[in-house]
């Protein structure tokens, strides 16, 4: 999202925070990590080692990974997807158009889960309430299994 202008960034960030609110208030999520939660301006994505450390620690301690990808863009969230795949975290990718995703991720969905490849689902991105419900359903399908 750091590639967006300040106004777009603020709108998108508000949507994501609204999704998180829905997850914690209505779907029983205990804690949700979102890199942008602490960054109110796109310039805040300054690219330092501490940001990376925080992201990696959060990814390592996560049960599932969700990408909100409203349009084709240059974003470090795609680096996080790769990291999540390598850690074998179940991945939910929410998009308006599947063609916006890197080809590799469309291919990953078609490959299916295996011992080394985690479950990956691509769904349509809706409003914040719908998005929270989709994430909760994904958690119920895959995230809880990861706890066992």
């Amino acid at each position: 999202m750091s590639a967006l202008d300040a106004s777009e960034y603020a709108d998108r960030r508000a949507e994501v925070l609204s999704v998180i609110e829905g997850l914690t208030s209505f779907h029983g999520f205990g804690s949700v990590y979102y890199a942008g939660a602490r960054i109110s301006q796109p310039e805040g994505f300054s690219g330092n080692a501490e940001s990376l450390r925080r992201d990696l620690v959060a990814l390592r301690s996560a049960r599932l990974f969700v990408l909100l990808y409203p349009a084709k863009m240059v974003t470090s969230a795609l680096v996080e997807v790769g990291y999540a795949l390598a850690l074998r975290l179940p991945c939910l990718l929410l998009v308006h158009d599947k063609a916006d995703l890197p080809y590799l991720l469309n291919q990953a969905e078609q490959s299916g889960a295996s011992e080394l490849i985690p479950p990956l689902r691509i769904s349509t991105l809706g409003d914040p309430a719908q998005t929270a419900s989709q994430i909760a359903a994904f958690r119920d399908d895959f995230g809880k299994k990861a706890d066992r």
């Binding site: 750091s2 994501v16 999704v19 804690s31 949700v32 990590y33 979102y34 994505f45 300054s46 690219g47 330092n48 080692a49 501490e50 940001s51 990376l52 450390r53 992201d55 990696l56 620690v57 959060a58 990814l59 390592r60 301690s61 996560a62 049960r63 599932l64 990974f65 969700v66 990408l67 909100l68 084709k72 240059v74 974003t75 470090s76 795609l78 680096v79 996080e80 997807v81 790769g82 990291y83 999540a84 795949l85 390598a86 850690l87 074998r88 975290l89 916006d100 995703l101 890197p102 080809y103 590799l104 991720l105 469309n106 291919q107 990953a108 078609q110 490959s111 080394l116 490849i117 994430i135």
Partner: protein, 237 residues
Amino acid sequence: MSNDKEQGGLPYGLDNILANYGLGGLVIVLGIGLMGLSIYKGSSFTAQATQLGVVVGGSLIGLALTAVGVVLLRRGKTGSWRTLRHDVFIAAPMAGFGADEAGRKAAVDIVNQTQAALQRLGLQRVYTPVLARPEATKYETPSTGFDVEWEALRSAKRYLLILPTIMPAGTSVLVTAGIAVALGVPTVVFARKGAPLPYLIQGAVESKQVKVRLFEYLDFKEIEQTIINDGLRLFGE
């Protein structure tokens, strides 16, 4: 978005060890700590049998933890074994070198020349998606099985990323870079001088937790010269 356990989670030091060395590193530290603690505290008990029990018991448990940690560490940060079949995986976002045929050809040329320079260093087994799916109509559409690329990444000893001046939107190379970093594959990024890097790539370059090194270039000659000058030290070897 993911469940964040930072709040009230592990203390910062252990947290750092976990991020740097994975679960294996953390278990080793705990094992060694337990051995030290049992030896240090054992002598404070008055009964000799208790002293012996604490020292021997604590040391054995600590030793077992250390052994488990070593096994986990060998499995890598992602907890699975990797068979290394490729000397290097080269990635480049083809669309970033130009949307037309000339741009695509420029990307293929720069990857070909980089591959040749690396092969002169003895890195013969090179995998690159750019050459695996070189047709213009396929370069950013599904054409190569994810399994093939995933397997190539998992079996790569090194990862080399060549970035153009303007990063194309929705490129797969950011995903493969994330996979490489997570797998702990020594990574080199060649970026055009002055071009901004995605912030997590920049963070990876600045971080000591991951093996990512950045070199800037203006044209291919500089990439080639860097490879010739640095040899395998390019990857920190």
